[in-house]
Each structure stands twice: as structure tokens, then as C-alpha cells.
Symmetry: C2
Subunit: 328 residues, 2 copies
């Protein structure tokens, strides 16, 4: 394949298992609300047994962003590892049916199953995630195809994969290839708890390898151990080319060395499930960048994408985002 | 287990694979809109490859009804065959997490995979289904536990399973056990096309083995090859104890030997996906019967259940139907 790509992402290839739960369920299992934690196969099985009826939808943070870019009309690729099982088939079907290039070899038969993320949606529409990585955690440097990275305007990395050493090596390799080819790199910090686990590493990564950083308010404050959001904004300014800082219903702030652009949140009639809000905000913003749009317009598209995803269960768009954003 | 059951159902153990499609997609594949057809593994694979991104949710007509009865607070059981694979685990988890008794042995390893129903939801909220039965079609007389049937007030049968001869035998066996134990039997005709395939058999079944019949307008007209709905009402009157005839937004008509009770449809702000409307209407009605409620009240609960299911994607309730119907 020689076609150019707008964005290629490396991330956890996961199927989300979404169900409704109340705060008491989370408290009973000692799971902090709003967090993402990694769990092993045994814990996943135990937790699933106590979980209510669920819906399975392809997920994974960066993969959700890539689905969003495809829905906006962008040319996208994904690098991640599924197993040769039914959940792996589901993940592969869903992402390729959007026209996304997904050529990573699946894990060898008989090994770990395809990863899944147990998502508990509380009545306040917050999501709490317990992830069994399975084969997703085995993405490594060998899965990085230099030619594919070079074909993409932006290589997008998901902070969650920092939890697995092999994936970390894959990221650094991809970022270095991208930069040598004069391409851009982008990263989402993914989760406050993920930042807490990898603060020093993330600072090195952001300051050394990343052009475009996505973080929400809690994550950017955690990264710099800042006393408040404004302090975090000044801490990140100039450390990477663009920092896109999301603040839920307060919209977002785009920080460059010399500018600060404020983006309003889009109205959403009823917030059903916030799973994927950050992923789709990133999708919209990155798509805008690949089209050389002004920052404020990138932010507007991003906010529209995020508003669509929180209006229903699941982190993959249910309508054409290109139409929704008035781009087609 | 010796606990009594309100309803036990025999049906196809299927996982729904739901996606949005337009009329052109159906026309291109020569699939009649609103129908359910059986397809083989090869066709399922081919069709899935052309299908857009999907959501996986446990389904199966009678299984959806049973999930509804459990959500209403009823004690329910299900008989159906899954395989020992990931989709089978999903089906088992979802139904047992509702407290439903599901003890049917899974199919032997290495055989057919768990069945799935590819559901295409068109912009008019209609659903068109292409079902690969897989292991679901292998439910047979050996899966009928006489003691379990005797413990249930009502044994509920899904017409769709009439497409497989082994399942038909299982049905007749279960109906005979139920009647010998002075229990009631219920049947849904499932689908106009299913009625066309099995008209004579269904008439024998309804007139000989069934106490409570569920059918929509098209199905009951097809069963008696009647000239219109009113003629079909008179054709079915007295042939079984209760005939529950649903008419979408026109509500439903409950027909007994001496009475005709009209039930209004419940308002639904936005009809998103009609998958499962009939299944959940049956759930509400059967639940009411097990509580010895008057026909009109059974119909009211039924209409509330149907309105909930068409307000979202998927055929399993997303909220407590007991709360919604003011029963808890």
C-alpha cells in the first residue's frame, strides 16, 4: 500500500464491554470512579461474573479516535494487536469497515485472548474502566512498519500503552521514524491515574518526542503537579507545539507558545455515557490539523465529535461525523 | 433447583450484531426489509464483511422476552444452545446476570459456533435480520428437562425455531409436558415470512397445543390468509384461550372467546430501533398473566415494555422495567 494517511495511531486493540452500574457497585469492588485500571484474566472473569448485562462495542482509546477520523472523512491507520478469536474478529471488522488501514498481524493462536475493557457507566454518565489487556498488550517494535509511519501526516500515541514496556519501545520507535520523516507526533495522556504511574516518563516523552499533546484538566495538573489549571497551562506552554487541554462542559483550551485559544463545549441534549469523549475530541482536532484549519476551527470540529459520542452508549460514532460537522 | 418459575422459554440463543444500514444496502443484497431469513456460515461471513461497524448485544426473540420478564421482577428460565466460545460466554453472562435460570448444556467443542443475527437498522427504525443459527439450531428434545417445564406457570415458544426439525420436536415435547402438568403454553408467530414457511404446521400447533398466542397484524393475517385484520381476529377467536395481536403504533388487541380488549400503544419520544418490540410486548403481557392481572393491565405493562425497547438500539431493556411500569 502506498496511499498517504492523515493519521496513524498505535493503541490498545480492545473490545468494550459496557454496562450500567451504580456507585455502590464501584465502592463494593473498591474501584475509584472515573479511573482506568489494568486487571488480569482472573480478575476480569471474576468482575464480569458480578457485572450486569452488557453490550460489546469495539473500543480502545486511540482506536476510537481513529474511527472518528475515518467518520470525518480522513484517511487513517491503526496499529494494535488482537488475537485470532471472535472478539478479535469483531474489532477487526469494525475498524476496517470504516476504511481504516489495519494490517498488524494478530497474536499467535493459543496465546492471550483479545483484550477487553469492562466499562461501568454510572447514572451520572461517568465511565469507570477495568481493562484486561490480553493480546493488546503485546504490540511491540516489530509491529511498527516504518513505511506506514512515514506515509502518515501525524502519528498518534495513546498514553495507556505506557503500562506495557514493549509498547513503550514501539512508541518511541514510531515517534523517531515520524520525526526523521518530518512528520508530526501526537499523544494523549489518557488518564490521571496513568499519568501518576508514569509522570517522569511522560514528561520526557512530551518534552522530547511530542508535537501535539492532548490532556484533560486533571491529567495536565497531575503531569506538572501544578496547583491549578492556569498553572498547568503555563507549565506546558512551549514544551510541545500544541497542547489541547479539555475541560468537559467548560470546553477546551488550546495552548501554543504564543497563543491561547478557547473552545466552547457543544451543547448535548442528554449526556448518556462519557466513554470516548476525549478520544473523539482528539479525533476532531487532529482531523482539522491535517486539513490545515485554524486552531479555533479544529477545536469546533473536536467539540462536535465529543458531543456526539457522549449522547449515546459506546465510544464509536453512530452517525457520520463529516455530516454532523458540516464537512460533507 | 426446585424453585418455581413464572415463565420458561425455548428459543434461539443468538447474539445480535446490530448496525445501521440504508434501504439501498438491503436492496443491493436482495434482502426484503423487515424480514428475518436464515443464512449459512459462508453467507454470514460474506454479509458481515460488507456490513458497517456494529454493536454486539445478546438477542434471540424468546431470550429477549425472558430478559424482559426478569427485568419486570419475574422468575424466568431459558432453554437454548450456545457454543463454548466468546459469543456463547457473552450470551450466557447476559442472561444469567439477570437472574435467569439457564442450564442448557452448551454444544460440544469444535462444532458450530454460537449463532448470531445480523440486524440492519434502517433510518425508519425498522430492523431486517439475517440469522446464522450456528449452535442455536441444535436445541432438541434432550434439552427439555421435564421437571423444569413443570416448575413454570407458562412455557413460551418462539416460532422461529420451527425452522429446525429437532427444535420442533423439543417444542412439542415441552408443550405436552406443560399441559399434562396443568400449565399454560404460549407461542409467538415471530415473523410473517416464518408463518408463510410453516402455515399448516403453525395452525395445527396453535389449535392443538397453545393457550396464549402472540402475533402482529401481518402474521395473524398470514396465518389465516385472511382478507384483513378484522377477519383474522374472528378467525383466531376461540382457537386458543388468548390471542394477543399487536399493531405497532395502533396498539394491540387481546382476543378471547368472548371478549375483545383494546390496548393503546405507549408514547415513545423517539423510535430508534424496533428490534425486540414484539418480544418485549410478549414479556410484559406474560408477566401480567403470571400475576393474575386483568387483560387490560397485562396489555398496559406490555406496551410500556415495548416502548422502552424501541427507544434505543438493541432488544434487551436498558432500565428496570419493573420501575418503569410502576411495579416496584
Amino acid at each position: 500500500m502506498t496511499k498517504s494517511l492523515d493519521v496513524i495511531a498505535i493503541g490498545n486493540a480492545l473490545v468494550d464491554v459496557l454496562s450500567h452500574a451504580d456507585d455502590a457497585f464501584l465502592a463494593g469492588h473498591k474501584i475509584p470512579k472515573g479511573s482506568m485500571s489494568l486487571i488480569d484474566a482472573a480478575m476480569a472473569e471474576k468482575l464480569y461474573a458480578t457485572m450486569g448485562p452488557a453490550v460489546e462495542i469495539s473500543g480502545g482509546s486511540a482506536a476510537n479516535s481513529i474511527a472518528g477520523i475515518a467518520s470525518l472523512g480522513g484517511k487513517a491507520g491503526f496499529i494494535g494487536k488482537v488475537a485470532k478469536d471472535q472478539l478479535g474478529q469483531i474489532f477487526r471488522h469494525d475498524i476496517t469497515s470504516l476504511g481504516v488501514e489495519f494490517t498488524t498481524a494478530p497474536a499467535a493462536q493459543g496465546g492471550k485472548p483479545t483484550g477487553r475493557c469492562l466499562v461501568f457507566v454510572t447514572p451520572d454518565a461517568q465511565r469507570t474502566m477495568q481493562t484486561f489487556l490480553g493480546s493488546a498488550g503485546d504490540v511491540g517494535p516489530d509491529d511498527i512498519d516504518a513505511e506506514q509511519i512515514k506515509r502518515a501526516q501525524i502519528t498518534y500515541l495513546e498514553g495507556y500503552l505506557w503500562d506495557t514496556p514493549l509498547a513503550k519501545k514501539a512508541y518511541i520507535k514510531a515517534a523517531e521514524i515520524a520525526h526523521k520523516a518530518k512528520r508530526k507526533t501526537a499523544l494523549t495522556l489518557s488518564d490521571k491515574f496513568c499519568v501518576d504511574r508514569h509522570r517522569a516518563d511522560f514528561i520526557d516523552l512530551v518534552h522530547g518526542h511530542i508535537d501535539i499533546l492532548f490532556a484533560n484538566e486533571q491529567e495536565i495538573i497531575a503531569l506538572y503537579e501544578a496547583r491549578n489549571f492556569d498553572a498547568a497551562v503555563e507549565a506546558v506552554r512551549g514544551k510541545c507545539e500544541i497542547a489541547v487541554l479539555t475541560r468537559s462542559e467548560k470546553g477546551a483550551v488550546i495552548v501554543t507558545k504564543s497563543d491561547t485559544v478557547t473552545v466552547k463545549a457543544q451543547p448535548c441534549a442528554k449526556i448518556v455515557d462519557t466513554t470516548g469523549a476525549g478520544d473523539l475530541f482528539a479525533a476532531g482536532f487532529l482531523f482539522g490539523l491535517t486539513r490545515k484549519l485554524p486552531m479555533a476551527e479544529c477545536g469546533r470540529i473536536a467539540a462536535i465529535c465529543a458531543a456526539e459520542i457522549i449522547s449515546h452508549v459506546g465510544a464509536r460514532p453512530e452517525v457520520s461525523l463529516a455530516k454532523l460537522a458540516g464537512l460533507s
